[in-house]
Subunit: 343 residues, 2 copies
């Protein structure tokens, strides 16, 4: 079924049918209803490509998912982020175009996306500390929103981010208040901007109390369960083990918990753990009582906000940067307690 057939069937011109379907005012309500009913009956929807070609818009948003070439790994927050963004797109008749690509040739993909005009805008995932993609997209003139920020304060662009610095500073202060003095930071890859900010917050909390954070207790890597396990195991075997862990993700924290168990210690009593929780749907932090004390921030919500922001930017044509900084919520679980005596 196409417009031509449908309009012949209805005894109307293509123009009228098109206008009826697209809610133009110059069509009578009676005609509009008749047209829409027929469209439904014959299961007609305008051909995406023809419509896009005529309007110059693709009604699609691109998400470029970089696969870490080192670890061949997909970011686990990705699924929930996509779910959030996807809801918004569906609700606004937009499609989501996903490109899975080795982080090496991301630049090529963005150029192509722009040249082929296959999307009206893109979401940038996992910004690095100093990310070339931002300048690139500005040059290409493709609207975009960054999930996160780069450390480069010069560039002006739209982003949605969590206040990672403040969140980690608060979490660290929380542990310091409990008397902990040897706090380990299990952080994400330091080339990622968010990991930098988290580390800054961690250090700032120490500095504010004239304490020095121990560099030997700060590690950063891709946040897998295994990384959490390995680093915590090793630290717990030391002569002076940490009494608390501040962990950048639920998944790494699961590894830390395993290491604590293997070391014959009890989490919350012998060793405290506080985590950043992205509220992944398949890894809820407990259901009634939280397992971990956590600074939480829904990555799914972030997906919704990014999508909404980008659609707004595209629809309004307003190119001034929009920003949204989300604060985390600190929830108490069983994984934290006062530092053990003489710990």
């Amino acid at each position: 079924m196409n417009l031509k057939k449908l309009s012949t069937l209805l005894g109307l011109s293509q123009t009228t049918v098109s206008r009826a379907l697209n809610d133009y005012p110059e069509v009578s309500e009676a005609t509009r209803k008749r047209v829409k009913d027929a469209a439904r009956a014959y299961n007609y929807s305008a051909n995406t490509r023809a419509k896009g070609l005529a309007t110059g818009r693709s009604m699609a948003i691109g998400h470029v998912i970089p696969i870490s070439t080192q670890h061949e790994m997909v970011n686990p927050v990705f699924a929930d982020f996509i779910a959030g963004a996807g809801e918004i797109y569906s609700r606004n008749d937009h499609d989501m175009l996903l490109s899975v690509v080795a982080d090496i040739d991301e630049e090529r993909i963005y150029r192509e996306l722009a040249a082929k005009a296959s999307v009206d805008g893109v979401i940038i995932h996992g910004p690095r500390a100093n990310d070339p993609r931002i300048k690139l997209l500005q040059e290409l003139g493709l609207p975009f929103v960054v999930h996160g920020r780069t450390s480069d304060e010069v560039a002006d662009y739209s982003w949605v981010d969590v206040n990672n610095r403040r969140s980690f500073q608060r979490a660290t202060e929380f542990l310091l208040d409990l008397g902990h003095r040897r706090i380990a930071l299990i952080n994400g890859l330091e080339l990622m901007d968010f990991a930098q900010r988290r580390k800054d917050g961690f250090l700032a909390a120490h500095a504010n109390r004239d304490l020095a954070a121990d560099p030997a207790l700060m590690v950063s890597e891709e946040m897998t369960e295994d990384f959490g396990y390995r680093s915590a195991s090793e630290m717990l075997r030391r002569a002076l083990p940490p009494t608390a862990f501040l962990v950048s993700s639920m998944i790494a924290a699961i590894g830390v918990r395993r290491a604590i168990g293997d070391a014959g210690k009890k989490m919350g009593r012998d060793v405290s753990v506080i985590i950043h929780d992205d509220e992944l749907s398949y890894l809820p932090n407990g259901v009634e009582i939280p397992i971990f004390t956590a600074a939480k921030s829904s990555v799914r919500l972030a997906g919704q906000l990014c999508a909404k922001m980008l659609l707004d930017i595209i629809a309004s044509g307003d190119r001034t940067p929009h920003n949204k900084l989300l604060e985390t919520e600190l929830t108490l679980g069983d994984s934290t307690g006062p530092a053990p005596e003489g710990g």
Copy 2:
């Protein structure tokens, strides 16, 4: 930059330039090179929609991601599957179109996808025991490949699946061989086809030895960490607790492990655990020694295979069903051991 400008620039007709770029034989090598160089220099790529409109193909594959309306949850294997499929698409100049949709109105989405002709084919995720989507897509004439199968043996369609039945039968036999007699099955939602097959395998292993599986030790739900924890905790508190757990996913198994720890028992000694491992990139089953004894099967590979199969089907026009059944690999970890005496 578009074809018209590029061809004027080169002093050629649009036809010649188009043919040069699309490797038609009736263009001299010298001309072709000149055209391709210019395209690169001016960063020209054919407009997706115009090209699609002219060719009648979209060069895009649709993935419809159902969000469980009950739990608002995304399947955690999704990210890795997508990564696998995405690699294949990139390599073959195809795009991936994602629709995130409440499982309730999936049908509408498929109809739209077909009517709008926005994709050349689709991948079906998470088939239910008796899935209406298969008949629907056959009616719509949209090529598709199912990741998994439905139990409805009548319909003929293309799929890539893991031999879940055999895998779980083997795993159960492995536990029975170790002397376990009270084995718990922590399974996925039974409306999903794969959960049915896994249960069948579990039951078959018992039946083959004239043993009866205890229905009170078989639970099924959406596979979260919390579900694993709750059900294992409850079972371990019983007068006659299970001595072994067969768990349908890594994530649920992490909950089971937590429950075992909380119960003051040691995994692998007091309680055995064997899991199905999808080899999620961010949840590796240990790095040198496996944490869990596991029947493993890479979901990323499954994504690649599905994508390849679908592209083949589309390219060849061959509508006879293609199938691929993957066997799992049973790897030994520290989580299993002989049933405790008098257990």
